[in-house]
């Protein structure tokens, strides 16, 4: 018994004796103490946290070679290995983590909306709760600075660029035909139902080397990676019906969405300025399938739609209206995979294929065209350290365009082209500190059709000057194959080119965000031709050029007024181009010098409703008046539009939605079409291009059926 006792005592005594004390102090790069750092011997419980002076001290029974670890959120972990006896009286300097919430971000040119974005200008919901956007992703984006409001077109016009200068991507892979085609001067919509997407990145310039074939802008949409639950969504609207369904299993899920739109009944009720033989009808569907692997996610997205319209459109050159009918079919599919190959290697790869066909009849002439387009993408990212990552990739774009114009007499004019475009890029993100970051890269491409090679450097940097404010700068060189409208007639052309220089300042604090950006864009090699319209026998050259410079301001505040969120954006632009058939440099008709929008959203508890107003105003847009000597000398009067929406949650799963655009019925004129030849008095007659109707009223009932009775479609409105 005595021996046992003795043994116990010895054991206890021994463990007391062999304890060593570990002491030290932890500071940041400026030498200031850090409070609350977890300091411990790796693989043991022995440790403590630092006090307000950054001092730590604890005892350990460990001996021999061990590692001392100091770890604290928003700092890089520190590790020192050595004999326990030597791991004391240390002064440890921690480096701030570049992944910290308040670290610098390269923001020049880009607006992010989504969960992953560190500084979100738009929240995913905004896309759909913005009054006047009518659930169109593009509609919401036009309330951001840098985008023009081109009411008769509906597409995205960014910083003095034409609509086709924006390239659209879904899950990183290109969408060749993002818009539904419409008749002349009636606005189009994007094909994407906001229901399926939860991340949007809208770049107004200076984007990464990952993207090519876009002179002005990149719009990147991400499908929802993981839906929440099984559910069915039913929509009954004044313009059509919709049905959606989501099924979810352990590793995979599928969502489909079908809709049928018919504007007929609505147009009978509300008189239209346009003379429809057959109003717009479209049927479409989208499917998203996802499969979760251990280290990655496979996504497939498919969309199809068929739309028809038949209209008698006015033309100032014709005594009577001309019948214009359109049948469009569009199918698009993509498959993408994102995942980790190892701890340091990350892969993003995908393929997309799109087929678009148009059958158009203009009076007795027929125009049929088909575009087949493919994109193959491979991108590999290697993170070298927490501060440096490098990525590179390959792109292959295939475009095949065929068009046949058939005159009433039966004469046929077939045109078309096939293009193979390959590109390779490398880019690196380097954080010098939490306050200074640099992105540097380049993109090399080979355009088979135009037989040319390009190398385009890209660079951007960001510097944090103060806790909540930072400056960014971006430079980029961009090329794009000229529009199919010209390439189909002449392939002896070069790519158009734009250089971007952007300086951005951003202030972001607790629900308030201010952004200002000044930019200069230099356009080169723009297409010119010498006829009234682009024709097979026109002379095409790359002799055009132009510039755009301006200031974009954005302010968003969700804090000052309770339950209210609002943003204000303002753009000033000065831009001129000598392109197409312009006789000299002039401001194109889609550019308004001043554009401003105010968007508000207010939640009313008592009514369980969200109401919103959007007000957009822009100064007059130029138009060419051939009665005057100077080209593009006319200016329309200012444009304005006040829209309102109201979403009423009847129960958690039933929503009644009401919206009206242009409440005051302002008679906006977008421009004028002038006759090609003067009348008897030597005057060129004109016709105003106006809105199809003064107001657009929309009423919808949305019902979600799910097991938990919680979710609703407010996200989709």
């Amino acid at each position: 018994m005595k021996q046992v006792l003795l043994g116990l005592l010895v054991l206890t005594g021994f463990s007391l004796w062999s304890q060593s004390e570990i002491k030290g102090r932890i500071v940041d790069q400026k030498g200031e103490a850090i409070l609350g750092v977890n300091v411990y011997i790796d693989g043991t419980y022995d440790g403590t946290v630092t006090d307000t002076n950054g001092v730590f001290s604890f005892k350990t029974t460990e001996t021999g070679v061990k590692s001392l670890v100091a770890s604290f959120l928003s700092y890089e972990s520190f590790k020192k290995t050595g004999n326990v006896q030597t791991l004391t009286n240390l002064t440890i300097k921690l480096r701030e983590s570049v992944n910290a919430l308040d670290a610098v971000v390269i923001t020049a040119g880009t607006f992010e909306a989504g969960e992953k974005a560190r500084i979100s200008v738009l929240k995913p919901l905004d896309i759909v709760t913005t009054a006047g956007a009518a659930g169109d992703i593009i509609g919401a984006l036009t309330t951001l600075p840098g985008a023009q409001t081109v009411g008769e077109d509906g597409r995205l016009f960014v910083r003095g660029g034409e609509a086709n200068e924006t390239q659209t991507f879904v899950d990183g892979v290109r969408v060749p035909q993002p818009y539904s085609p419409t008749a002349n001067n009636t606005p189009t919509r994007s094909r994407f139902s906001p229901f399926l997407f939860n991340g949007v990145s809208f770049s107004t310039g200076g984007y990464s080397a990952e993207y090519g074939e876009a002179l002005s802008s990149v719009l990147s949409l991400n499908t929802i990676a993981e839906p929440v639950q099984n559910q069915t969504d039913i929509s009954l609207m004044t313009v059509g019906v919709g049905l959606g369904n989501t099924r979810k299993w352990e590793k995979q899920s599928v969502t489909f969405n079908l809709n049928y739109i018919n504007l007929g009944p609505y147009q009978k009720l509300v008189p239209q300025k346009l003379d429809w033989n057959k109003p717009v009808q479209s049927s479409g569907g989208e499917v998203v399938y996802r499969f979760k692997f251990k280290n990655g996610l496979l996504r497939a997205y498919g969309a199809f739609d068929i739309s028809n319209l038949d209209i008698n459109s006015e033309d100032v050159n014709q005594p009577t209206k001309i019948r214009y009918a359109l049948r469009n079919g569009n199918s698009y599919g993509n498959l993408s995979y994102k995942g980790n190959l190892s701890k340091e290697w990350f892969i993003h790869t995908g393929v997309s294929y799109g087929i678009g066909t148009n059958k158009i009849s203009i009076a007795d002439d027929r125009l049929n065209n088909t575009e087949n387009a493919m994109h193959l993408k491979l991108k590999l990212t290697r993170s070298l350290s927490e501060r440096v990552s490098i990525y590179g990739g390959l792109d292959y774009f295939y475009t095949d365009f065929d068009e046949k114009y058939t005159e009433a007499s039966g004469r046929e004019f077939p045109v078309g082209f096939t293009n193979h475009l390959g590109a390779a890029y490398v880019e690196s993100d380097i954080f010098f500190s939490k306050n200074l970051a640099l992105k540097l890269g380049g993109r090399a491409s080979r355009n088979d059709l135009l037989d040319e090679y390009h190398f385009n450097p890209r660079a951007s940097m960001a510097y944090k000057v103060y806790t909540n404010s930072q400056f960014s700068f971006a430079f980029g060189d961009f090329v794009q194959t000229p529009n199919a409208d010209y390439v189909k007639y002449n392939q002896n052309l070069s790519s158009e080119r734009a250089l971007h220089y952007i300086l951005n300042y951003q202030y972001n604090k607790n629900g308030r965000l201010f952004r200002s950006e000044v930019y200069v864009k230099d356009y080169q090699n723009l297409i010119k031709f010498n006829t009234l319209r682009p024709q097979f026998n026109s002379q095409y050259t790359n002799g055009g050029s132009g510039y755009a410079r301006g200031l974009d301001l954005f302010w968003r505040d969700s804090k000052t007024i309770k339950n209210t969120d609002y943003w204000i954006s303002y753009s000033y632009i000065d831009s001129e181009r000598d392109y197409l058939n312009f006789p000299n440099r002039a401001t194109p008709s889609f550019i308004a010098t001043h554009t401003a929008s105010i968007v508000t959203k207010h939640w009313i508890d008592k009514l369980t409703s969200q109401i919103g107003f959007s007000y957009t105003v822009n100064s007059g847009r130029p138009f060419n008046n051939p009665n005057e000597g100077m080209f593009m000398n006319g200016k329309t009067k200012a444009f304005q539009n006040l829209s309102f929406n109201w979403a009423y949650l009847m129960t958690q799963q039933k929503i009644l939605y009401f919206s009206i655009s242009n409440i005051f019925g302002t008679d906006n004129v977008f421009g004028y079409q002038y006759a090609n030849t003067p009348d008897m008095n030597g005057q060129f007659q004109r016709r105003a291009i106006t809105q199809p109707a003064d107001r657009f009223v929309f009423v919808g009932f949305f019902w979600t059926i799910s097991a938990d009775k919680k979710k609703n479609q407010l996200n989709n409105l």
Binding site: N38, Y45, S74, V228, N510, D708
Partner: protein, 206 residues
């Protein structure tokens, strides 16, 4: 007398040696938490978690300590830091056991804390996922009082918001109290919290 002393010393020795390092460490972390030393408690749980990689409890407590602390905080950057820490710790365990009811309840709590943080942004986004988590947990462990109570508490919030009848929810809260009464935690360190909150809810119903 001497025999008694020997016995006593032996017993003490046995107790201290019988208590594993894990139990000692967890006990210490628990008492730090009890004293309101959030940072110290969380740090201790984190240290235990780095050693005991086969035990889900230390990381569960890192998540629990930080999430509950966030409910009483005002400063947004601090709340953000606490919830991110909670999520990082919980992710480690959820990856190993995606169908553990207590971990699912913990995930629902983190989401609920984000909803409190910014109801306008996160309310619509996360309400669905929270209900999904509770439904999943309920299917796995219908008798777990924290599952039943957590779900009821969350539903109570939206019922009050929409002005729907709360009586069936009060009945569910009472059922949760019964479950708490019969619930036996596996060890002293397994989750056993929640009874007082359930009682408070039932009291508010009356």
């Amino acid at each position: 007398m001497r025999k008694f002393i020997v016995l006593a010393i032996m017993l003490v020795g046995l107790v201290t040696y019988g208590q594993t390092a894990f139990e000692k460490g967890m006990g210490k972390a628990m008492s730090l938490w009890g004293e309101g030393k959030i940072n110290e408690a969380s740090a201790m749980f984190e240290r235990i978690a780095t050693v005991e990689q086969d035990n889900w409890l230390p990381n569960y407590y890192v998540a629990l300590v930080n999430t509950t602390a966030s409910f009483t905080m005002k400063d947004k950057t601090q709340i953000d830091a606490l919830l991110k820490k909670a999520q990082t710790a919980l992710d480690v365990e959820l990856k190993k056991q995606p169908n553990h009811p207590e971990l699912l309840v913990m995930q629902a709590m983190i989401h609920t804390a984000w909803i409190n943080f910014d109801p306008m942004t996160n309310g619509m986004k996360l309400s669905g996922p929270v209900m999904e988590l509770y439904s999943k947990a309920e299917a796995l462990a219908p008798e777990n009082p924290r599952v039943v109570f957590g779900k009821t508490e969350f539903e109570m919030g939206s019922a009050k918001f929409f002005g729907t009848d709360i009586k069936p929810l009060c009945a569910k809260a009472e059922k949760a109290i019964e479950l708490f009464a019969t619930f036996k935690a596996e060890t002293a360190f397994h989750p056993s919290w929640g009874q007082d909150r359930a009682q408070a809810m039932v009291a508010a119903c009356k």
